[in-house]
């Protein structure tokens, strides 16, 4: 064990730094906008530095929580302030902290009105997302989960495009509906556990021991899964995503694609499946089918979009389908692939949305048909565009390859024994999922082809006022993302090691039955 005693303090620092930033931004609100931006990027930078320090100190071989803090909060309800790092969240915490400064730098010039409020909201969102990842208490998790809505509501609604109000209301109303049923399930779960075992607690570790009959598990998983599946989003609950992405400002899209969507898959991995393992296994075929439909359907929709932001929005649906596929395979490699795919998608989608935002800032249109031959106008931009496109397609050496490959391998590993037992369905699903890779290459390369090559055309471009290629600020944020993409693609070992134990824990939690011994399966359900 490491002698790292500062750990808990540092983790609290990672969580609360954005709130310090919010306070500073509010204080500086009357000064100039530059100060707000500077405070924001400084806070996020320090947050990332501390998070990176924790990542390096993280002991991959130690089971359980690390750097944990537990303080009683609402003792009467069994709620405590319990945060900590484990293999489940370590990479996502790092990803969130990494994207923080990039989001702020990406919005440096494109956000011109109400700048202090914007940065306040971005920091608030960062706080809520970080909190949802590090929370190890269900009540706390729910608070952060819901708290993410409000800043996002304002970010899309205040700085978004023409249909921003419609898009943001749709986003919030969709997500809030899932959450309200999840709340009912949380209340019921904790109450039932208290009645059966006498333990009144919201801590994940205690809830993992709750014994529930299958019928109850099914209903509760349904409520949790609805909430998470909306967030992922899984087809058919995905319709809020294209609207939100298209209308959101670039920073909003980056946060949405980079981190927020991972909340859904993280929720499945950390809560949904391990809390209700028997129901999860019973539902695996349905959920897997939905995951594969998401992969293929998302890719098909991306193929026919004419709006460049929508292409990437739909590609997110497709890529997160692989995460679900990997999680549901219950094979170690698939689970680890899912985790890597989450991070990879966070990096790649963030890069692509930034690139789209940069071209939108110059040309003020998102119509694919309006562009062509950008490679000749903007060479540096085009290089970055190609890197992220290929990473999205899953070219080996990029992170996209590692994630997709491992997730698909997990699906096949799980499907083969089933096939030998005479059940072909999982194998068929896995094969269909592979076509998503091909479709992915099709829509991304079609996009790159019309965008970068061919006849030179771009709105607001004329020989007298040529389009400006990337500035230093833009090059550096894209460069950082590209480095991360290759690092994860070429050296996935470090990340895989840190998450291996968590993947095993997840595997054993979901494969172990927790139906109470001796209880009839058809015990009375939720209704009194």
């Amino acid at each position: 064990m490491s002698e790292f005693t500062m750990g808990p303090t540092l983790l609290n620092l990672v969580l609360w730094l954005p709130m310090v930033g919010v306070a500073l931004v509010l204080l500086a609100a009357r000064a100039n906008d530059g100060l707000a931006r500077a405070i924001s990027v400084a806070t996020m930078g320090v947050q990332f530095a501390v998070a990176a320090m924790l990542y390096l100190q993280f002991d991959a071989t130690a089971p359980g929580l690390q750097f944990a803090t537990q303080l009683p909060w609402i003792a009467q309800w069994g709620v405590s302030y319990l945060i900590g790092l484990d293999g489940f969240n370590i990479l996502l915490v790092l990803l969130t902290a990494f994207l923080g400064p990039i989001v702020v730098l990406g919005a440096w010039t494109s956000i011109k009105k109400d700048v202090p409020l914007f940065h306040g909201m971005v920091l608030l969102l960062q706080f809520a997302m970080m909190g949802a990842f590090v929370a190890q208490d269900l009540f706390l998790f729910y608070l952060f989960w819901e708290a993410m809505l409000i800043p996002m509501f304002l970010i899309i609604g205040m700085w978004g495009g023409a249909r921003r109000v419609y898009a943001t209301l749709k986003f919030v109303l969709y997500t809030a509906f899932g959450s309200i049923l999840m709340l009912a399930a949380v209340i019921y779960l904790v109450h039932t556990m208290q009645q059966s075992s006498g333990v009144l607690s919201f801590a994940f570790d205690d809830l993992y021991r709750a014994q529930l009959p299958l019928s109850v598990q099914t209903i509760l998983l349904g409520a949790f899964a609805l909430s998470f599946a909306i967030k992922v989003p899984m087809v058919p609950l995905h319709t809020w995503l294209p609207d939100a992405h298209v209308e959101a400002p670039t920073a909003g899209s980056v946060i949405l694609a980079g981190v927020l969507l991972k909340m859904g898959t993280y929720g499945f991995m950390k809560l949904g499946f391990p809390l209700f393992p028997d129901a999860a296994r019973a539902f695996t075929p349905i959920l897997m089918t939905l995951a594969v439909i998401s992969i293929v359907y998302g890719a098909c929709l991306a193929l026919v979009q004419t709006d460049i932001k929508k292409i990437i929005a739909y590609s997110s649906i497709s890529h997160l389908g692989y995460v679900m596929l990997g999680l549901l395979s219950l094979e170690l490699v698939g689970i680890q692939g899912a985790i890597i795919q989450m991070v990879s998608h966070g990096l790649v989608a963030a890069g692509l949305f930034l690139l789209v935002g940069m071209i939108y800032d110059r040309c003020h249109t998102r119509e694919l048909a309006a562009y062509g031959g950008l490679a000749r106008l903007l060479p540096v931009y085009s290089v970055f565009f190609m890197i992220f496109t290929l990473a999205s397609v899953g070219l080996p050496t990029t992170s996209g390859f590692t994630g997709e490959f491992l997730a698909l391998m997990g699906a096949f590993t799980a499907a083969w024994p089933a096939h030998l037992d005479g059940s072909n369905y999982p194998l068929v699903l896995a094969v269909v999922a592979v076509t998503g890779v091909v479709l992915g290459a099709m829509y991304m390369l079609r996009f790159a082809l019309t965008f970068l090559f061919g006849e030179v055309k771009a709105p607001h471009h004329s020989p007298e006022h040529p389009l400006l290629d990337l500035s230093w600020r833009e090059k550096s944020i894209l460069g950082l993302l590209a480095v991360a993409v290759f690092a994860l693609g070429l050296f996935p070992n470090g990340a895989l090691q840190k998450t291996e134990l968590a993947a095993k824990t997840y595997q054993s939690l979901v494969t172990t039955s927790r139906v109470p011994v001796g209880s009839p399966v058809s015990q009375a359900g939720v209704t009194p």
Binding site: W73, Q76, W77, E146, I150, V165, V172, L173, I187, V526
Partner: protein, 454 residues
């Protein structure tokens, strides 16, 4: 001693009347009233802290630490109301009437007999008729006051009818007779129980007895609307807690307790969507909140006082917060219209942020106190075994999210319209807003501490 909070209020009322008769100190009336309320509130908290319990009038009036805590909390909520009144009511009348109403409010949770409870309900409501009329600059005020008078009178009559039937059936005027009567099977007792409940529903504006609330709220001035939406509603609910104390809801009353509050939640939230006036919207929101509050009665009796009181506090604090920072306007039409809030963020960011926090809390979104309060109520409902109804109630609360968000949308996402004659809320009202903000933050960050004190 047991009635120290009431005595202090009475002292304040007498002092104010003397001052009014002598014709001096119209400006200082507010501060005298404020002093009386703060003293009374402190007394209640102090007695509660000292675990004081007494029965000064056996069978009529008694206090326990929990009851004193409830009184103290409600009296504390009256402080922002008084502060808010400064801009509109400069003479002592408002203070005298409000203090009289508060006196009635203090009687309710302590009442042991139906007579005292009736007295409390009447003393609570009577001054409010006058308070609504005090803003007689506009014709709707008369209509509002009249509606409130008639409907409240009907509620009182229903209550009395129920009580007399109950007296006929049980021969007792003690409120503890109400509990056993809930389970009784004979038609007379059952009618009595239903009538008493309906009277409470009418007073608290539960569907289908809600129609008076939007009209009355709209016609009254801001502080009076705030008072009606928060404190009088809370007081009626505390009276209901007193009636149901020690009894778990059981059939057949359960049906009444489940269906009407659920309807109230759904209808209140749906009807609020269409409102163009802020006060009408708050009225429908308060109808929905009455529904959540009556849901608490499905829970076991042990935690009921706590959950109702916590909900009333969280709901009132945030409601008062919104009212306190609301910009003032010379013409009533503009002041009341939701359109007046358009782009408020660009003119007055503080007020816009406060109203937004209030709306989110009323919508029950975490981390604001409205969430913890709702959580507690539904937790108790689930614990009592009514899971299906808890889920229905929660889904009903989801319906409300839209119109609260619409207010935020108006505040932040619409272009600013300069409305002539718009002024910031007055200084005292802003102090009230800051007090409410502090209360909101305490409830949000330390709900465990607040609950531990109850």
């Amino acid at each position: 001693m047991a009635m120290l909070p009431e005595h202090l209020l009475l002292g304040g009322i007498v002092l104010l009347i003397v001052m009014a008769v002598l014709g001096r100190g119209a400006r200082s009336a507010l501060w005298v009233a404020l002093g009386a309320v703060v003293a009374s509130c402190t007394a209640a908290f102090w007695l509660s802290n000292a675990q004081f319990a007494a029965e000064p009038f056996a069978g009529q009036f008694s206090v326990t630490p929990a009851v004193l805590m409830a009184k103290g909390a409600l009296l504390a909520l009256a402080v922002p109301v008084l502060l808010m009144s400064r801009t509109e009511f400069s003479d002592g009348e408002f203070s005298i009437l409000l203090l009289s109403s508060l006196y009635g409010l203090c009687l309710l949770p302590s009442s042991d007999s139906f007579l005292v409870m009736f007295l409390g309900l009447e003393m609570l409501a009577m001054p409010v008729y006058a308070l609504v009329l005090l803003a007689f600059r506009r014709p709707q005020s008369a209509e509002s006051a009249f509606k409130y008078l008639v409907l409240s009178g009907a509620a009182s009559a229903t209550f009395l009818m129920g009580v007399s039937l109950l007296y006929g059936a049980t021969g007792s005027m003690s409120v503890s007779a109400f509990g056993p009567a809930l389970a009784a099977g004979d038609i007379m007792t059952r009618t009595a129980v239903v009538l008493v409940l309906l009277a409470l529903f009418l007073k608290a504006a539960v569907v289908p007895f809600h129609a008076w609330a939007p009209d009355t709220y709209e016609g009254a001035s801001i502080p009076v609307t705030a008072y009606m939406a928060t404190l009088t509603k809370g007081a009626v609910l505390l009276a209901a807690v007193r009636l149901f104390s020690g009894v778990n809801a059981s059939r057949p009353v359960v049906d009444l307790l489940m269906v009407l509050p659920l309807l109230s939640i759904v209808w209140g939230n749906l009807a609020a969507i269409k409102q163009q006036s802020f006060r009408r919207m708050i009225a429908y929101s308060s109808i929905a909140h009455a529904g959540y509050l009556f849901y608490a009665f499905l829970g076991d009796s042990a935690g009921r006082m706590q959950s109702v009181l916590f909900y009333v506090i969280a709901y009132s604090v945030t409601n008062l917060l919104a009212f306190a920072v609301m910009p003032q306007n010379d013409t009533d039409d503009q002041r009341d219209s939701l359109d007046a809030l358009k782009g408020l963020y660009h003119r007055n960011p503080f007020a816009a942020a406060m109203i937004a926090i209030a709306m989110l809390s009323l919508a029950g979104l975490p981390p604001f106190p409205g969430f913890a309060a709702k959580f507690l109520i539904f937790k108790n409902v689930v614990a009592a075994g009514y899971t299906t109804y808890a889920v229905l109630g929660l889904v009903g609360s989801y319906l409300g999210i839209y119109f609260y968000l619409r207010v935020i949308q108006l505040l932040f996402m619409t272009a600013s319209e300069t409305t002539p004659g718009e002024k910031e809320a007055g200084g005292a009202a802003r102090v009230a807003g800051v007090l409410c903000l502090v209360g909101t933050l305490v409830l949000a960050v330390l709900p465990g501490w607040v609950l531990g004190g109850m």
